[in-house]
Each structure stands twice: as structure tokens, then as C-alpha cells.
């Protein structure tokens, strides 16, 4: 009764066709089937944010989405954002400010931070905290992450002028 289902979607701009079991979540599909292991799996119940990816340009929890639900959708992972150069300044700011240590939360943090920066050019530190409130980091104590996001927002405003 639980048979594989065929799905077709775009991942980082490339078309993907696959057969998946209904129980397979998007995070595992990306990691195990497509070997895009930048999407991390932490809590598997939507609390930690390590698996954050973009589906149709909106951030979502890949652990709370079935692969069969992204039929016809466009998925972007940290590999896509990283390769396109979209977040190279944000990545550099994270590096410069030691906004990561073990790096486990970093892909999800970058996804959530870029989502905020796309919506708000001048976020307050409180806005940044709120937008990242669904992403756990167990190493940094968050301050350096907030600093890096704030610095990137400032720099982008500067270069936009």
C-alpha cells in the first residue's frame, strides 16, 4: 500500500525526477538522494532550524515537509545560494566575526538571515533576533551571528547607494 511515488521538481535550478517513498522528508531526500548534504538534520521536529531551505522562494523546514509535497516546486538549498554568490558577503561576515564554531547550524542560519535581508534592508538587532529565533546555535551565544547579519545589512545598504 505504501508504494513509491514519482515526483518532479527543480533543485537549485536543475530539474530533478525521482521515485520516493511517501515517508521520505525533503531534508533526507536532498541529503540521501541528491547528496546535497549542506542541509543539516538536527531535531527532525521543526525546532532547531538546521534543515532550513527555500521552497518557491520562501524558507521552510525541510524536516517538516515530505518530498512528495514539493512536486513541481522550486527548491533552493545552501549549495545553490552559496554557488550563485548570492550570500558570499554574508558568508564572509560570518567568517570575519566568528559567527560559527562547529558549523552545524550555519546553513540554516544563513538561509534564515538571507530571508530577512531580502525583506528588510535595515533590520534592527531585535528584528534579526526575531527572524533567527527559530534557529538554534549551541556554540556562539548568538551575538556574533547578530553582528554578522547586521554588518551585512549595513554593507549592502552602503553599496546600494
Amino acid at each position: 500500500m505504501t508504494a513509491p511515488i514519482s515526483i518532479s521538481l527543480r533543485v537549485n535550478g536543475e530539474r530533478v525526477d525521482a521515485h520516493v517513498m511517501p515517508r521520505l522528508n525533503l531534508a533526507d531526500f536532498l541529503r540521501e538522494h541528491l547528496h546535497l548534504t549542506g542541509t543539516h538534520v538536527g531535531c527532525e521536529h521543526g525546532v532547531c532550524g538546521a534543515c532550513t531551505v527555500r521552497v518557491n522562494d520562501e524558507i521552510v523546514r525541510a524536516c517538516l515537509l515530505l518530498a512528495v509535497q514539493v512536486q513541481d516546486a522550486s527548491v533552493q538549498t545552501i549549495e545553490g545560494l552559496s554557488d550563485s554568490g548570492e550570500i558570499s558577503d554574508l558568508q564572509e561576515a560570518f567568517r570575519a566575526r566568528n559567527a560559527l564554531q562547529c558549523g552545524y547550524c550555519t546553513p540554516g542560519m544563513l538561509m534564515a538571515a538571507q530571508d530577512l535581508l531580502k525583506q528588510q534592508a535595515e533590520p534592527s538587532r531585535e528584528d534579526i533576533r526575531e527572524h533567527l529565533s527559530g534557529n538554534y546555535c549551541r556554540c556562539t551565544g548568538y551575538h556574533a551571528i547578530i553582528d554578522a547579519v547586521e554588518a551585512t545589512a549595513n554593507a549592502r545598504r552602503g553599496s546600494a547607494r
Partner: protein
């Protein structure tokens, strides 16, 4: 953990979803945004035989205003509540509450219908339904029925929905002249489930409450409309009256105790929320019950 195996069906319409529900009975679960169902399945708290995906049904999406009533489709997401100009105008309480529902990535998927059908006692939207005096519209094999929010929530994760019913939409009276609302919750981290929370919808005329609906969440097994608030309607509110009303609150609320808070702490927070809401709604800071 990972969800255990299940079959999957993508519903093609409401009738198709109802047909699937009826034919699979108790073993079936409806999947909308999945932000409560998927965690429960991943934790293996539930293991449905079949998941019926209604996420693509456009007939269940969006809002519409007709006369004095706004209809909100079950698949309207928290992110939509936050951004919709119609919600901001006609039900601003919902927009404010939605900002407290989990985190951006979850609000992009989670739906109002899903939140109501899930009926977590600490969730924001069920309390708003009571405050707004909403009606929940469900359809099942015996047709459509309308359920008052006050009758809908029956316990922890329990509602009046039958196993073969699907929540279609909610209807609520739009905000009238002099409407005012208040929303606040205490949580350890922004976006977490509340330790104690309050949603209030009122009409304030000439410095008095013409109507006042005060609804608590995370203070019992379901959202609770506080009758104590009736004492403040159509009278000149005094600090003594607020004290009196907040003292009688204790008798109506039946908070639970958990790792986050004791019963006494929840009673205390309930009083604090009540006093703050009255002070803010009437623009009278002296009613806020500042610590002596």
C-alpha cells in the same frame, strides 16, 4: 526520528478528500501545512495508514469579506495572516497573534485550519477564534455544519470535528467602529508555545467597554473565555473593579503545571495579563496593576 511508513494521496478537491477520509476511516490523517502533523509523525506519536494531502486545494485558500463577515479559508497560512491587508483592516487581532506563532519558516507552511484542528491548548489562533466569536465551518459525509468557536475546542488536542469531517473555513464578524484588541503572551523564546497568553477583542466607547471578550490560552485544556471580564462592561472601570475582577479569575481558570510553570505562576500571569490588557485597551496606565 523518521515517520513510519504510510500511504499518500494527493486530494484533487474537497469532495475527493472527503471521499478518501470516509473510505480510510480512523487510519487517515489530513495533511495541510504539516507543521503539527509532521512533528507528531516524526516523533511517532501518531502513525497514520494514509496521509491525505489537501495542501494544493486552492478552494480552501484566501480570505473574502461579504457584508459584515469575513471568511478565511482553512489553508490560509500564518504568513498570509501577517501580510494580508484585509486581515489587518478587519481582524487585526489575528495579524498580531500570527506574529507569535512559531518562526518565519514555520509560518510559511502552517495554516489556520491546521492550527484549529490540532487544538493545542497553548496555541494562539484557537484563543483568537473565541475572542472574535468566530464560526468554524466543517464538511463531512453528512454535509456541512457550522460550529461556534465556543463549542469547537473540547480538550487537549480535541475538537468537535468528526473523523470524516474536514475544516473548510472560518467566518468571523469584521471589526466594527471603536473596536480594539489586545494580544500578549509569555514565552521563554519568541515563537515558542506560550506559558500563558491572552487574546482580547473589545469595543470601547466613551472610555467604557461596550463589549469585552477576554480569552486565555495555555491556562487550561482549551482556550478559556473569562466571565470575570463581564464585570467591566458598561461601567466606569476603577482600579478596585479591576482588582475584583482579576481576583475572581482564579476560580474560572484551571491551569496545568509543567516544566515551564507552576499553577500558581500561571494564575499570577493570568492576573498580570488581564490588568495590562484593561489598562492598554482603555489607555489608562494606572489600571495596569504595577507592583506595589
Amino acid at each position: 526520528m523518521k515517520a513510519s511508513a504510510f500511504a499518500y494521496a494527493r486530494a484533487t478537491g474537497v469532495d475527493n478528500a472527503l471521499h478518501l477520509l470516509a473510505s480510510h476511516g480512523q487510519g487517515a490523517r489530513l495533511l495541510a501545512g504539516g507543521q503539527s502533523l509532521m512533528p507528531a509523525m516524526n516523533l511517532r506519536l501518531i502513525s497514520p495508514d494514509i496521509v491525505i494531502d489537501i495542501g494544493g486545494l486552492s478552494e480552501l485558500k484566501g480570505t473574502a469579506v461579504q457584508g459584515q463577515v469575513m471568511r478565511i479559508g482553512a489553508l490560509t497560512r500564518h504568513a498570509d495572516l501577517l501580510r494580508s491587508p484585509e486581515i489587518a483592516t478587519h481582524a487585526p487581532l489575528l495579524a498580531e497573534a500570527a506574529a507569535h506563532v512559531a518562526h518565519p519558516a514555520i509560518r510559511n507552511r502552517g495554516t489556520i485550519g491546521g492550527s484549529l484542528a490540532h487544538a493545542d491548548p497553548a496555541a494562539e489562533l484557537p484563543a483568537c477564534m473565541l475572542a472574535l466569536d468566530a464560526t468554524i465551518i466543517a464538511r463531512g459525509s453528512r454535509g456541512e455544519r457550522r460550529i461556534a468557536a465556543a463549542d469547537f475546542f473540547t480538550g487537549i488536542f480535541e475538537t468537535a470535528l468528526m473523523a470524516d469531517e474536514l475544516l473548510l473555513a472560518i467566518e468571523l464578524p469584521i471589526a466594527r467602529k471603536n473596536s480594539a484588541h489586545f494580544f500578549h503572551e509569555f514565552a521563554r523564546r519568541h515563537g515558542d508555545y506560550a506559558i500563558a497568553g491572552l487574546a482580547v477583542q473589545a469595543v470601547v466607547e466613551n472610555g467604557r467597554f461596550a463589549t469585552l471578550r477576554v480569552v486565555y490560552f495555555a491556562l487550561g485544556d482549551r482556550p478559556a473565555l473569562a466571565k470575570a471580564a463581564d464585570k467591566l462592561v458598561n461601567v466606569t472601570v476603577t482600579p478596585a473593579l479591576v482588582q475584583q475582577a482579576s481576583a475572581t479569575l482564579a476560580g474560572e481558570l484551571h491551569p496545568y503545571e509543567d516544566q515551564q510553570a507552576s499553577k500558581a505562576m500561571r494564575h499570577h500571569l493570568a492576573r498580570v495579563l488581564f490588568q495590562r490588557s484593561v489598562a492598554e485597551l482603555l489607555h489608562r496606565p494606572e489600571l495596569g496593576g504595577a507592583p506595589q
